[in-house]
């Protein structure tokens, strides 16, 4: 479809316009397009960089203490480490967060609940595995009730080992995630 189909323009102008491009795509694509195409175009251009800049600097995480790491998560939010410096802060409802921190053991009984939480988080979203239990089951790797491969259920972007990791490691993990978002290397590809 050309522009002149909608706006009465001389065909020559239409032809001329079709030569114009924006970030390597014909301008007409931008003009008449579907949401998917808009997303494709946004993905290519500098707009995406701006969006990702906003996203990476405003990573709100889900307040969900699950184990030892939950205690360090609390300290990570408090003055001694002050996550607010990076624009990171906890929210209690999954609808308003960007990052889910798996901060402990996932058991057979908890898996449905945490999966549900993950699905309630609106896109774009990321998930971090913090602590040994979240990565591999940790000390409980051979237990009958522990999920020992969290990566099977969640697209984990950053693995932060430690048992529990120091609050510094939380900051490190978030910085790795920011770097990943900036470089557009994250698993879900935002």
């Amino acid at each position: 479809m050309g522009i002149s189909d909608v706006i009465p323009l001389p065909v020559a102008v239409d032809k001329e316009l079709e030569k114009w491009t924006i970030w390597g795509r014909p301008l007409t694509d931008v003009w008449f397009t579907t949401t998917e195409k808009i997303h494709e175009i946004i993905d290519m251009g500098p707009i995406k960089n701006v969006l990702n800049w906003g996203r990476k600097n405003s990573l709100w995480f889900l307040m969900q203490p699950m184990g030892c790491c939950g205690v360090e998560m609390l300290v990570f939010g408090c003055p001694p480490y002050d996550c607010d410096r990076f624009g990171i802060f906890p929210r209690a409802t999954p609808r308003q967060v960007d990052v889910m921190i798996i901060s402990g053991y996932i058991t057979r009984k908890y898996l449905p609940a945490i999966k549900n939480l993950w699905e309630q988080i609106p896109e774009p979203k990321w998930v971090m595995a913090i602590g040994e239990c979240a990565i591999s089951g940790g000390p409980f790797y051979d237990s009958y009730n522990i999920i020992n491969n969290t990566g099977r259920f969640f697209p984990i972007d950053v693995y932060v080992p430690g048992c529990p990791p120091r609050p510094e490691k939380f900051i490190e993990g978030f910085r790795e995630l920011q770097e990943k978002i900036k470089q557009r290397e994250d698993k879900r590809g935002y």
Binding site: P80, R85, E132, I135, S136, G138, P161, G162, R175
Partner: protein, 187 residues
């Protein structure tokens, strides 16, 4: 009333004490006892596998790695640590017979993938041998091997001679006891 609360926050604000540890810029002083990432002194490690046996999480595995000392560690197998499962309890360090495995103050090991946090001997080792040193060591090992062979051969020879002597002696005099003794020695 609640005036004391207001006073308390105001006082803290005015006192201006900095408590935030500015992590990425400054790393706080950690004590010597800190249990962080392992350090393997590869020149001391004898590859006994005590660390792998004591590990409650089964996260240490002995893998081949060539930059070690073939004199001390014949099979050249060194611990590889899976930090996705290590719980930093320090039992491996306590149990190490040569004190070659220690824990450092380093703690920054976040990874993008699961494989990134499996640390091979190369990642944790210090004092790796260079190629030249390795060649020298190999030579030494060879020499040592030869020396050992030579010694073994000599010993065998000496034993044979001894046995022959004993046999001779046995032939000469009281036979059975000496023969048994030589058998035991060779056996």
């Amino acid at each position: 009333m609640v005036l004391k609360n207001l006073k308390m926050t105001l006082k803290r604000s005015m006192s201006g004490v900095e408590v935030t540890r500015l992590y990425p810029e400054k790393i706080m002083d950690l004590p010597d006892a800190e249990r962080g990432v392992h350090v393997l002194d590869i020149r001391k490690c004898i590859g006994c596998g005590a660390c792998a046996r004591i590990c409650p999480n089964d996260c240490i595995e002995l893998v081949p790695y060539k930059r070690g000392n073939p004199l001390k560690n014949k099979k050249l197998r060194y611990p590889q640590i899976d930090y996705g499962r290590c719980m930093f309890c320090g039992l491996c360090v306590d149990d190490c017979p040569t004190d070659c495995l220690t824990m450092s103050k380093k703690f920054e090991i976040a990874g993008w993938n699961r494989d990134d946090i499996v640390y091979s001997p190369e990642d944790i080792a210090v004092g790796m041998y260079t190629d030249q040193e390795l060649a020298e060591l190999a030579e030494e090992a060879k020499k040592a091997e030869e020396e050992k062979k030579r010694k073994a051969a000599e010993a065998a020879k000496a034993k044979k001679a001894k046995a022959a002597k004993a046999a001779e002696e046995g032939e000469k005099g009281s036979g059975e006891k000496a023969a048994k003794k030589s058998e035991g020695e060779t056996g």
